[in-house]
């Protein structure tokens, strides 16, 4: 069977470019990441934070409910008792160790849902790539806000922050 050059080659090519041509008048949807970032959906869940009360005390009481709720078993909590000399959280108990294995985490947000004090929250910080497996185990120091309200600040891409 012979190939009809016009029917089988030229026409489809022209039709294909036609689509491209028609699209030229539409606005662009691609953004130049990382120079530009796109606004994220309101319910996007990425990196975890451990938040603080206004007073600066940690909200986390080390209750392990997040670990219990976690379907990926990626949270490890070790609790200890607050003393009057050394107080981390308002009640009797605080988290001495709090670790999340970010490679295992599936970002389902159950931990946030389970948390009785609203200590653990998932925010929009999505640029979590790293070079070593070990660095994906986020410790309490990494997860804890430095000051109250830090986790609620709008997320800025790490690349934009550098520039």
């Amino acid at each position: 069977m012979a190939i009809d050059v016009i029917r089988d080659v030229a026409k489809p090519i022209l039709a294909g470019f036609g689509i491209t041509g028609r699209r030229l008048k539409h606005p662009k949807v691609t953004v130049q990441y990382p120079e530009q970032t796109r606004e994220q959906y309101p319910r996007t869940r990425w990196r975890h934070f451990l938040t603080r009360y206004e007073s600066g005390l940690e909200r986390c009481i080390g209750c392990s409910l997040c670990a219990g709720a976690c379907p990926a078993r990626c949270i490890y909590v070790e609790a200890a008792e607050n003393t009057d000399q050394e107080r981390y959280s308002p009640g009797e108990r605080y988290a001495k160790r709090y670790e999340i294995n970010m490679i295992r985490c599936i970002f389902c947000g159950y931990c946030q849902e389970a948390c009785p004090t609203g200590a653990i929250v998932l925010r929009k910080n999505f640029e979590l790539a790293d070079y070593k497996r070990e660095s994906f185990v986020y410790t309490k120091e990494m997860l804890l806000e430095e000051y109250p309200g830090q986790a609620d600040e709008p997320y800025v891409s790490i690349y934009q922050r550098q520039s």
């Binding site: 080390g62 209750c63 392990s64 670990a67 219990g68 200890a80």
Partner: protein, 688 residues
């Protein structure tokens, strides 16, 4: 648990289902026969019902002659209601659901919502019942009751009065089971609190059980405090090795480490209780001083070695050592360890210098105990001689107390010092320390006088007459070998047992002391002749023994004569220390071999009533630690070609073949409830 009764059966109806139950059985128990459940808080099957919490309300009716049912106007507590003919019970009506909601709403109005930080959260009966039967919201808008929180009642028990729901389980436990009555309610009404008198220290020897039976987090363990949540834990059955009673326990571990011990039900041994020693005395297993590496002495210090190196060195010193080598075995070695240890000494080293007894002197073998812990309940009495049972044999103590509390058994106690058992003893006598033999001679004389029908008014008349009336077993412990006139004391005890026609039970104190006796870990067993512990140590001290093996024992701690131990360990040429902890003796060692602690490997123990109980590995051992039997097996194979042993089960099967006393013991039976060794008197004449 209610024991089998001879009560006649009665017909009752539960939710329309007819069934027969023994007359007088509590309805809360009858309901379980149908696989139904009634929610409870204050009811505990081992204690008298009180009906305080009102959680178990059911509707009750009586069957009328014409077949109709007349309902009682008020709901009744199922935990106190005994079954009687024609009783009709409804556990699932609209009204009962409402009542349960009402009771839970009442309980929760003053219960703090600190479940997330409460150690009971996740395994809390109040949480469970609320979830199944309770209201979803509270209508209580007032201030909750505030009380003492996190009060350290003792170094084991933390009290949180805000969480208390005043069910009285702990109070009743100290009154009915442990008998020290240290907890009581103070104040009344909504202010009622279970506390010790004036909040002084809670010194009960069984205080840990109150933590387990508390239906909320009011009493929590100070050791376990905040260390794990229930969903973090992995649980495995185990046997407690802190004394010879062999309590069944649960080992709870988190990330391979032991964090908590709870009682496991075995009606024949510990019911469900544990003593504080067993429950809290296991911190050493997580001790940083655990021996974890093989170490060999090089000059003044140790250097790490591998097992092969250590084995070669040991074999060089011990093989065919004959009379010049000796071994001492510890109380926490399993039956399998002890069996292979004896075989290694017999077959590989050709030595009979092997002993497990750490008493001041070592005498000839005593007949094995013939009482059973469960059987004590049915005795009319018992004679406790020279033993502080609450310390040395806590579960036997609880059973004796139960025999007194439930059946009115008359317990006789003769000790040199005041004892806990005095509180319920029918007769308790004191003799001066060192006067044991004389005391027993007078007692035997007194027994003779009374047996011949004579009457006397001596100091011991009461004791002798009670003994003659009750004829219960004589209970002594192996600590009598620490007495100056041990031989005479034992002879007199035998005489007394003979006169009374009862059994003499010399109870072992170490977790597997009885097992060591049964397996012949003593110089005179199986027609051998060798040296006993004291002689071994003396021979070490004057150089007659050149190599000594300490298998899981630190004679500095265990043997009464410290200076002899020191001389022995200093003078012995070669010392093998097999240990789980870096003990004092390990400092003198030529080779240190790490062994696993109980619970870190499979094995079986023989308890004080000659019950063989097996358990499986529950906790991870530290680095290189091996079970002792594996070391013995490997050494024997190295010395001469033979079939090695691969598992504890296999060794137990071999023991069952080779050692007459263990005939018929099987691993699975030993693991599920245990196997009693030897023939027993039938249970009991006293029950009729």
């Amino acid at each position: 648990m209610a024991r089998k009764t001879d009560a006649p059966p009665v017909n009752i109806t539960i939710n329309g289902i007819d069934l027969q139950v023994p007359k007088g059985e509590l309805i809360v128990e009858s309901v379980k026969r149908l696989g139904l459940e009634i929610p409870i808080f204050c009811y505990h099957p081992r204690m008298k019902p009180v009906g305080m919490c009102r959680m178990c309300l059911v509707e009750v009716g009586m069957k009328q002659p014409d077949g109709s049912v007349r309902k009682m106007p008020k709901p009744q507590a199922a935990c106190t209601l005994p079954a009687s003919e024609g009783l009709v019970i409804f556990t699932d009506t609209e009204q009962i659901h409402k009542d349960r909601k009402g009771v839970l709403e009442f309980l929760l109005i003053n219960h703090p919502l600190d479940c997330p930080i409460c150690d009971r959260g996740g395994e809390c009966p109040l949480q469970n019942n609320t979830l199944f039967y309770g209201p979803s919201t509270s209508r209580f808008v007032e201030m909750k009751r505030h009380a003492v929180k996190a009060y350290p009642l003792s170094k084991h028990v933390t009290l949180d009065l805000e969480r208390c729901i005043q069910c009285g389980r702990c109070v009743r436990f100290t009154e009915e089971i442990s008998g020290d009555a240290q907890l009581a309610f103070r104040h009344r009404g909504a202010e009622m609190q279970p506390v010790t008198f004036e909040l002084e220290e809670f010194t009960s020897k069984f205080s840990g059980n109150t933590i387990e039976i508390c239906p909320v987090g009011a009493l929590t363990s100070s050791h376990y405090r905040f260390r794990a949540r229930p969903w973090d834990l992995e649980t495995a059955p185990g046997i407690c090795t802190m004394c010879s009673n062999g309590c069944n326990v649960w080992f709870d571990r988190r990330k391979g480490k032991l964090v908590r011990i709870n009682g496991r039900t075995n009606e024949a041994v510990n019911e469900e209780w544990t003593c504080d020693k067993g429950k809290f005395g296991t911190d050493w297993m997580n001790n940083p001083r655990r021996a974890s590496d093989v170490k060999v002495r090089r000059g003044d210090g140790f250097s790490r070695a591998d097992w092969a190196e250590a084995y070669a060195e040991i074999l060089e010193r011990f093989r065919e050592g004959g009379h010049e080598v000796a071994g001492l075995a510890g109380p926490m070695l399993s039956n399998e360890d002890l069996y292979l240890l004896r075989r290694m000494f017999d077959e590989t080293f050709g030595s009979s210098n092997l002993d497990h007894r750490m008493t001041s002197v070592q005498g000839p073998a005593v007949e094995p105990p013939s009482f059973t812990i469960e059987g004590l309940e049915d005795e009319k009495g018992a004679f406790v001689f020279g033993a502080s049972l609450s310390d040395e044999s806590p579960i036997v103590y609880l059973r004796l107390r139960k025999a007194w509390y439930r059946q009115g058994a008359r317990i006789c106690v003769a000790t040199s010092r005041p004892d806990d058992a005095d509180a319920f003893a029918a007769v308790s006598v004191r003799y001066p320390q060192g006067g044991e033999a004389e005391f027993l001679r007078s007692l035997v004389a007194e027994l003779r006088v009374q047996l011949e029908g004579g009457r006397s008014f001596g100091e011991l008349a009461d004791l002798a007459s009670t003994l003659l009336e009750t004829r219960g077993p004589i209970l002594a412990t192996e600590s009598l070998w620490n007495l100056d006139q041990a031989g005479e004391v034992l002879a007199q005890l035998r005489l007394a047992a003979e006169l009374l026609g009862v059994s003499l039970n010399v109870m072992a104190l170490g977790a597997n002391g009885q097992g060591a006796e049964e397996l012949g870990v003593r110089p005179d067993a199986f027609d051998r002749t060798g040296l006993g512990t004291r002689q071994i140590l003396e021979a070490c001290a004057d150089g007659r023994i050149r190599a000594l093996w300490l298998a899981g024992v630190d004679p500095f701690e265990a043997f009464p004569d410290r200076s002899l131990v020191q001389r022995a360990l200093e003078n012995v040429e070669y010392l093998v220390v097999q240990t789980a902890l870096e003990t004092e003796a390990a400092a003198y060692a030529s080779v240190v071999l790490p062994i696993t602690a109980p619970g870190e490997s499979d094995g079986s123990f023989t308890n004080v009533e000659r019950r063989v109980q097996a358990f499986e590995k529950a906790v991870d051992p530290p680095a290189e630690a091996k079970p002792a039997w594996r070391v013995f097996s490997e050494l024997m194979v190295r010395a001469e070609p033979r079939t090695p042993h691969f598992s504890a089960r296999e060794i137990l099967a071999e023991i069952a073949r080779e050692v007459p006393a263990f005939q018929g013991v099987e691993w699975s039976a030993a693991r599920d409830g245990g196997v009693l060794l030897g023939a027993r008197r039938p249970l009991s004449r006293a029950r009729s």
